[in-house]
């Protein structure tokens, strides 16, 4: 017999219904916490994967207003710029809108100089460069829909109306999980299908700089080149550019973050309430232990251990069920949320549950240690 084993039995065997409900509540809260934090992490995954030596150049008015292709050479001529490429967000629909994945119209000649983290078989790349209707798929996108090299993918254009067909020329791998679930195709294919007055425009330019620490300086230089022109630019780091998308969702992210912290408070209250009730019911036993010679600190430790057991077991339950549930949800978001991010939060959630268990036990444990033995024994009789 040891005191931790007594605490374990007190926590779980005294009132089994209450113990099971408390454990399930802690497990559910851990699951909800992990779920929300994973979703919030997914928002910030892009900025986290951003390259510090990359800049994004877009129209100063709005992202939806294009820039002329003619700016390409002017940007490349800015001191500090090492490579430039351009792309357009396509926004096509594969069969139905719920099958979301990103599609970019890119310039094959320059794209892989800027996005040099993209790995692809040279033969497949060579084919893509010469195939006007060809496309490349991220390695996680292809298996999701069963696409194989040589297949034809049909998309319905939303921003660029019409039915579009692409032949899969190859599969690429990227260090950016978002890109691994994206599709690249020839910018020229998109451009040539536009009306004559809408040809020659790109969505954004992506730029690499020789010295990442001089990025802001180069960005300013690029914007200066186009100042007072018909197409003024806003150049920012890749990270800031992606954060710009997130800012549009800041209210939602803020709400998710707030709710995730409210969950912790609820966990604190549930554990605190359970322990307070359990210890109050056992006041006489605590008095008996004091009579046997247990010190106040030992009673406090015993009560704290009860809280630790409840939060630990509930936390482990929650941690065990979180990955499959969150990953299942992530699959249903069609890649919008990277399910693997759940692993970032399983460990911290367990640690947080444990901390909540200790915090929630502090006051009931302190009160248990301060009982008046005589009064408590009198209560029995």
């Amino acid at each position: 017999m040891t005191l931790p084993s007594l605490a374990f039995r007190n926590a779980l065997l005294r009132n089994k219904t209450r113990a099971i409900l408390t454990l399930l509540a802690v497990a559910a809260l851990v699951l909800a916490f992990v779920f929300l934090r994973t979703v919030v992490s997914a928002f910030f995954e892009g900025p986290a994967n951003a390259h510090s030596d990359r800049l994004a150049v877009r129209n100063r008015i709005s992202l939806v207003v294009p820039l002329p292709l003619a700016d390409f050479d002017k940007i490349k001529a800015v001191p500090g710029v090492t490579s430039v490429t351009y792309s357009n967000w396509f926004g096509g629909v594969y069969i139905e809108p719920r099958n979301f994945f990103a599609q970019f119209a890119v310039d094959p000649a320059s794209y892989f100089d800027v996005y040099n983290d993209v790995q692809i078989d040279p033969a497949e790349l060579a084919t893509f460069k010469t195939d006007r209707t060809g496309c490349l798929l991220g390695e996680k996108l292809a298996p999701k829909y069963g696409f194989k090299k040589g297949d034809t993918i049909k998309l319905k254009g939303a921003i660029y109306p019409g039915d579009w067909s692409f032949k899969v020329d190859g599969i690429f791998k990227s260090t950016d999980p978002f890109m691994d679930q994206s599709m690249l195709f020839q910018w020229k294919y998109l451009d040539s299908a536009q009306a004559a007055d809408r040809q020659g425009y790109v969505g954004t330019y992506s730029v690499t700089v020789a010295d990442a620490s001089r990025g802001p300086e180069v960005a300013k230089a690029i914007d200066t080149v186009f100042a007072s022109s018909a197409y003024e630019t806003r150049t920012e780091s890749e990270k800031t550019f992606i954060l710009g998308f997130i800012n549009g969702s800041s209210a939602i992210i803020g709400a998710l973050e707030t709710v995730s912290f409210v969950l912790l408070v609820i966990m604190l209250l549930i554990l605190g309430n359970t322990l307070s009730m359990a210890l109050r019911e056992r006041t006489n036993e605590l008095a008996v232990l004091r009579t046997l010679g247990y010190r106040p600190g030992q009673l406090m430790s015993l009560a704290l251990q009860e809280g630790v057991w409840l939060s630990l077991i509930g936390g482990v339950l929650g941690a065990l069920v979180s990955p499959p549930i969150v990953k299942g949800f992530a699959i249903n978001t069609q890649g919008f949320i990277n399910g693997e991010l759940v692993w970032r939060w399983v460990g911290p959630a367990l640690g947080i549950a444990l901390t909540m268990g200790i915090l929630a036990s502090l006051w009931p444990a302190y009160r248990a240690s301060k009982i008046d033995i005589v009064q408590a024994l009198r209560r029995i009789e």
């Binding site: 006489n284 046997l292 010679g293």
Partner: protein, 243 residues
Amino acid sequence: MTVSMLAVAPKSSTPIVRVQQVRKNYGTGEHAVTVLDGIDLTVDQGAFEALMGPSGSGKTTLLNLIAGIDRPTSGKVEVAGTELSGLSEGQLADWRSRHIGFVFQFYNLLPVLTAAENVEMPLLLTKLPSAERRKRVETALTIVGLKDRMDHTPRQLSGGQEQRVAIARAIVSDPSILVADEPTGDLDRKSGEEILGLLQTLNEQFGKTILMVTHDPHAADRAKIIRRLDKGVLVQSAEGGKA
């Protein structure tokens, strides 16, 4: 009965308990209630004494003071050579674990533990290795006649058996003195007799000093000395009937 765990205390006229001019008040000012009013008491080592008296006479309060779970308003309580008023809460707890074995009216066993584990509880405060603790627990349960019920939980025991487990818990650390507050108060006559017989054995064969609070004159008769309290004052001391 030969049991190595319990040191057989020599019977002597050396006092193990000295209570001098002890007063105990509850509340303050106009609402103060005097429960003990200038008690002087000496209990010799190896004695078996019963404290009797009507409800509210202060007998349980006196027992609590001697057991070190309450403190007097004034006066001195010295037990097993230690003056208790000078001890801190922690020191008093340590002292209790070494010198006091407490038997309650309602047994107060922990329901989630087996009989053996309940008896082991006081030993967790010592540095005894697990095997030694187990040995002592077995010995204590053998003394109270419940070796075959070691793995039973309190719910699986009768009231008399529960009280015997409580007595085993009280003696397992070989305390200087056993204090029992109405140990037969919740038992039927037969079980009560068994418990009183057990206390008598502990006193006579192992020389354990026993102080017992009881309402029951029949139970008090098992003690060697019967002391009566009334309104916080010791009013009579007499020899017990069968002692």
